[in-house]
């Protein structure tokens, strides 16, 4: 039990399947097709900077909508009886187990022209195209990732002692102040992990935009497309995406630590 030896196979594994592939992406990002050092891939990648910003925007909007929808739900669920809570958590997790492409496909069926929602809106004389735009992509993202926001927030909410809330009330806080002074500060760690768990996959996902967004792709779709013909430019976009996501994670981590100290 004191030996380091059992880790050796996995250390070798990480070298071959984690570190080497990462170095290869970085190598391809900084060379041209002849293998010479070059910044050409990044120059080519800059064509997609608008798509990149668009993806971050979609991720930001989806994350905010998830947070707004999830927070009140997580709070009211955490005030339920133990038994009801475990049933509700299970109900929230069932859709997550469904294959993600089938869940997006469900929204293709619902939003398509002459689909159910289109027909209902037509009855009221509203004639809009529901699919093939950013709104449809955001709906798909929120549907895909909403449980990832509810679950961590709910997890911290259940740890808030009811006596703390009662104490605040006894000391003269009204409902609004109980929320801003007690409940919200204590739920920040859950909010941070929820935001991370929604923002990161939304920003880097691919296919959702291909299914619901019409011609407007996201950065994940671009990486897939570009990689089919040009490994160098594809690698450069992947490196930029990786740096942005890792930077975001570091910032969220810092923020979480600071909150924990202040709390």
């Amino acid at each position: 039990m004191k030996s380091k030896r059992p880790a050796i196979p996995y250390l070798g594994w990480m070298l071959v399947f984690t570190i080497v592939p990462l170095l290869m992406v970085i190598y391809f990002a900084f060379t041209d097709e002849r293998g010479q050092f070059s910044l050409e891939p990044f120059k080519n990648a800059s064509v997609y900077s608008e798509v990149f910003l668009y993806s971050l925007g979609i991720a930001l909007i989806s994350t905010v909508i998830c947070l707004v929808l999830a927070y009140p739900l997580a709070y009211s669920v955490s005030r339920c009886s133990q038994r009801a809570q475990s049933t509700i958590i299970m109900l929230l997790m069932v859709p997550m187990w469904m294959n993600f492409l089938l869940r997006i496909y469900a929204w293709v069926l619902i939003l398509q022209n002459y689909g159910p929602l289109d027909m209902i809106l037509n009855l009221f004389g509203v004639d809009v195209t529901l699919i093939g735009n950013s709104g449809a992509v955001i709906v798909g993202m929120v549907y895909e990732f909403l449980p990832f926001m509810i679950l961590p927030i709910h997890a911290v909410m259940t740890k808030i002692e009811p006596s703390l809330i009662e104490a605040a009330q006894d000391l003269g806080c009204n409902g609004f102040h109980v929320f801003t002074k007690v409940i919200f500060p204590l739920s920040v760690p859950g909010v941070i992990s929820g935001v991370t768990m929604v923002f990161v996959p939304t920003a880097s996902t691919f296919l959702v935009a291909q299914y619901l967004g019409g011609t407007q792709f996201m950065i994940g779709d671009v990486i897939e497309r570009v990689f089919q013909s040009d490994h160098n430019t594809g690698s450069a976009i992947a490196v930029v995406l990786m740096i942005v996501i890792l930077g975001f994670l570091v910032v969220m981590n810092r923020f979480g630590d600071k909150e924990a100290v202040a709390g």
Binding site: P9, T18, S76, R79, V94, L102, L109, M119, Y143, A238
Partner: protein
């Protein structure tokens, strides 16, 4: 949830999560390819079961999931024990590299492995397929095993292992009879997480599968990408039934376990 408003809100969120799935399943019984209801049929289910390609990809998915999760569990448990015996900075460095596939955007992991396998394939004369998908799946499963086993090692009383040695066990016997037994809950949950992640993985499989090897998520992609295919609806219904069955069984099992523990 005492207030009526929070009850209504809860129902709306549940409807948002479940109606798309119900719609998807309902239209698997529709005799016709559009969203117009043309009468009840089971023909999409017959077509699904008669589709050799789909059945073959289901078989592939299960084989990969079983092999990847078993290998990842063994590799990861050994690694967790070995890594635990490293000290301070070295240990956290290893853990950071190990967690990298979890925090890195999936698409970046996918393309980096594709670069590795393409390069190694040219050098050693193989094509991507079953083996590369298996390696990739072991790679993203093992970190989850380590994350689940490590807390159990931390909680374990080291005196237990020494006591087993004092009582005449050889180190190997002490490991299999005492240590493994103590770590089992962590090992088991690591295995389950690996198995479900492997079953459901699309992105990393998509980049490492080569041109012929199909798993079920990849098959779902080819079935639903830019087209409507009622066979995908039938497949959703079957998957949904499996998910519900697994949940009910695991729930009953854990309830029985907690009853036994209460006795």
């Amino acid at each position: 949830m005492k207030k009526l408003s929070s009850k209504i809100y809860f129902i709306i969120i549940m409807a948002f999560l479940y109606l798309p799935i119900i719609y998807l399943i309902a239209y698997s019984f529709n005799d016709g390819k559009t969203s117009v209801w043309k009468g009840f049929t089971l023909k999409w289910y017959t077509a699904l079961f008669n589709d050799a390609q789909i059945m073959n990809s289901l078989y592939n998915t299960l084989i990969i999931a079983v092999l990847a999760s078993v290998i990842a569990t063994i590799l990861g448990t050994a690694a967790a024990i070995g890594i635990y015996n490293f000290k301070g900075g070295v240990r956290s460095a290893i853990q950071n590299v190990s967690n990298f596939p979890i925090i890195n955007p999936e698409i970046v992991t996918g393309v980096s492995l594709m670069l590795l396998f393409t390069f190694a394939g040219v050098m050693m004369g193989f094509e991507m397929g079953f083996w590369t998908v298996l390696l990739a799946h072991i790679g993203f499963c093992t970190p989850y095993v380590i994350l689940n086993v490590t807390p159990r090692i931390r909680q374990m009383d080291p005196a237990l292992y020494e006591a087993a040695l004092d009582l005449g066990c050889s180190p190997v016997q002490a490991f299999f009879k005492v240590v493994l037994h103590e770590l089992m809950p962590g090992i088991f949950s690591g295995f389950l997480i690996s198995f479900t992640y492997s079953l459901d993985d699309f992105v990393i499989t998509y980049f490492t599968r080569g041109s012929r090897f199909q798993t079920l998520p990849v098959q779902i992609y080819t079935m639903t990408h830019q087209r409507i295919n009622p066979k995908a609806n039938a497949l959703s219904a079957l998957l949904f039934i499996v998910i519900i069955a697994v949940l009910i069984i695991s729930n009953l099992a854990s309830r029985r376990k907690s009853k036994e523990a209460a006795r």
